[in-house]
Amino acid sequence: MNARRTARAVALSTAAVTLMAACGGAAADTGDAPTTVEYWLWQDDATDSTWGDLAADFNASHDDVQVNITTIPLEQYQDRLLTAASSGTGACAARSKDWWLGQFAPQGMIADITEHVDAWDGKDDVIESLWDTGRLPGDDAVYMLPHQYVTLWLYYNKDRFAQAGVEPPTTQQEFLDAAAALTDPAAGRYGFDVRGGAGGQDQWLAWMFAGGADVVDADGEVALTSPEAVAANERYLSVVTELDAAPPGSITAAFAPVQTNFAAGTTAMMIHHPGSLNAMRETLGDALGVLPIPSVDGTEPATLTSMSGNVVLESCQDKDAAFEWISWLATEEPMRAISTSIQGQLPVLESVAGAEPFATDPDLQLAVEAARTAKSWPALPGVAQLAAKEFQTQVQLALQGDQTGEEMLTRLSQLLEQD
């Protein structure tokens, strides 16, 4: 009785399925066509063309492998990568932070590339000590190919300091005094952005390291509740809770507004790294100053070093092609290109690090020097979740006075102590 209707429906749906399968799905190359590697990354400046140029160069010089890059904002990066990997879709190779290694690798999300690295002829150019950033503690397998790293420092606005008659800080207490002196809400001027939003845990940890604290002690136990840590944390929180020296929105800000504020002179100081050096020089020119992050008493400097490297996802169909792309990025010319661009960070290759401008620019020298005493996030599984959400939640609660600094550190410690 409804044969006609059924027949029509079946015909329609078959046509629809065929149509959708043909033009609705994501492209996948097979056969003689070159393999396309899907590569994901985040960028500090999405309007910069360096990465696009690199991809174009690679595609022009390689016949069998082509790369297609997609930029994802850092705030959403980890969730999207996880979701895509767990669906088996999305990227084949991806940029990754060392924060996530402790979560990605044990879960089986990223591939063990030790064999690819051993067979790669460019491996000797990589600075030896940096390989560890791509390994899990106590394990020799390489999961992440180092690419660019940073050590965090303190930018300050010389003009604002001169106007207020304040000396650049060398200790943490001086920093706090300076922040207070440079704050004038009526004029829309503030001392420092605490960046309680995405990515803020890096500048916080740099401050903590400089303040004499540590994430894990010599035995590998989580040490965030030590007296030094509590003191350093209190100082950090006091920028908002006592001095009110942060601009509105600071406690939920991610990098973009922090950078905008500093570039516009709204804030007088910013903790970041060489990745933004060129952009800040362009906007602030001679008013830009760079300092090591103030330590407790001006001695024993320490800061955070953070590696951004490249990983191959376990779900990738053609890992060789993916490795070809990421290893190409770590050869001399592409490394120089990215490191000297406006988004450039410190190169991981000896050949590039030993040449201009890294061997000659005084500010970059400062960063390289700091790498000697810098520490990084340990590759604990909880670090990824801390970076994804937990740090923001806990620091925001503390900055709003809904919990004490000690409670914040306790919560973070509990997270890091988990398996």
Binding site: M1, N2, R5, A9, A16, V17, M20, A21, G24, G25, A26, A27, E38, Q43, A46, T47, T70, T71, I72, P73, L74, E75, Q76, R80, T83, A84, S86, S87, G88, T89, G90, A91, G188, A254, A256, P257, T260, A264, T266
Partner: protein, 290 residues
């Protein structure tokens, strides 16, 4: 037509209460319109402001000079049009699919007596409870097995399934309000059951279908969570996901973001102006059954 007809024996034109009431009405209407359209107007103005002016601290509504650079950049160097196309494709599949399923179910529930009828009626209501947040985890695995992840068809199926319960409820209410005399006379005239449905019921159902179809389109066009999870490639992303990426990526490029917003909302505004009358009528007959 209006339900607010005053006593006809009183002259209406110039009495003070009447003037006051009319003024009050227009004031309220004006305030409401401003509240509704305000944000869109702000968005439009921002999209026409040159980016250099926006970066300067301080808020000012009117652009010093009107610039369409943002639109040019948006359409030229971002995948915005791809996102738009994908959203349209998904909706184009989801709407007919959901309508077919919902009409069938509505006809069954309204015109037939069968075992399990009560169960299905309750199920339609309970199905509204289903949160995307709960289902998305399982659906991700299912679609992967079916190889429908990152695929317009997969998302369209999920949208259609999600929209069908409410559409069914709407259409059933609509059907309930249609008297059965026509069908009965059709049957007396010898038409088969299917012919009765096809030639009498379905045409009568048309206004209800407009309401249901509009609802399904809106749901699919706006849907965020499933699209966020299932569509990972640039070539398959839908508009809401594309806009979301823009927000993080170009956080300081509000001109670009608002240009995208303006373009994304124009088809919706146009569509609504067209269907609003039928929509209200369809809702009136369908939803008011309560």
């Amino acid at each position: 037509m209006s339900a607010r007809t005053p006593n006809l024996s009183r002259p209406t034109a110039l009495t003070l209460p009447h003037v006051a009431r009319r003024t009050g009405l227009y004031v309220l209407l004006g305030v409401w319109l401003a509240a509704i359209l305000g944000p869109y107007v702000v968005m439009l103005l921002t999209s026409l402001t040159p980016s250099s002016q926006l970066a300067a601290a301080g808020a000012s509504l009117w652009p010093g000079e009107v610039s369409t650079d943002a639109y040019r950049e948006l359409l030229g160097s971002t995948p915005f049009l791809t996102y738009l196309r994908n959203s349209l494709l998904v909706a184009a599949v989801a709407v007919p699919l959901a309508l077919v399923c919902a009409s069938g179910a509505a006809i069954a529930l309204s015109r037939f007596e069968f075992v399990g009828r009560q169960f299905f009626m309750t199920a339609v209501l309970v199905a509204q409870l289903l949160p995307a947040v709960l289902l998305v985890i399982s659906l991700q695995g299912q679609l992967r097995v079916l190889n429908l992840l990152d695929n317009v068809l997969g998302l369209a199926l999920v949208h259609a399934a999600f929209a069908t319960p409410f559409a069914t409820w709407l259409l059933k209410g609509f059907l309930d309000s249609i008297p059965r005399e026509l069908e009965e006379s059709g049957r007396i005239d010898g038409a088969s059951s299917w012919q009765v449905v096809r030639m009498i019921l379905l045409p009568l159902l048309a206004p209800g279908m407009v309401a249901a179809g509009t609802y399904i389109f809106i749901l699919s066009w706006n849907e965020f969570l499933y699209a966020l999870t299932f569509m990972q490639s640039t070539s398959t992303r839908t508009l809401p996901i594309g806009l979301h990426l823009f927000i993080g990526e170009y956080q300081i490029r509000w001109d670009l973001l608002t240009a995208g917003g303006v373009l994304a909302v124009l088809p919706v505004i146009a569509g609504f102006l067209i269907v609003q009358k039928r929509l209200v009528a369809g809702l009136a007959a369908g939803a008011v059954k309560g």
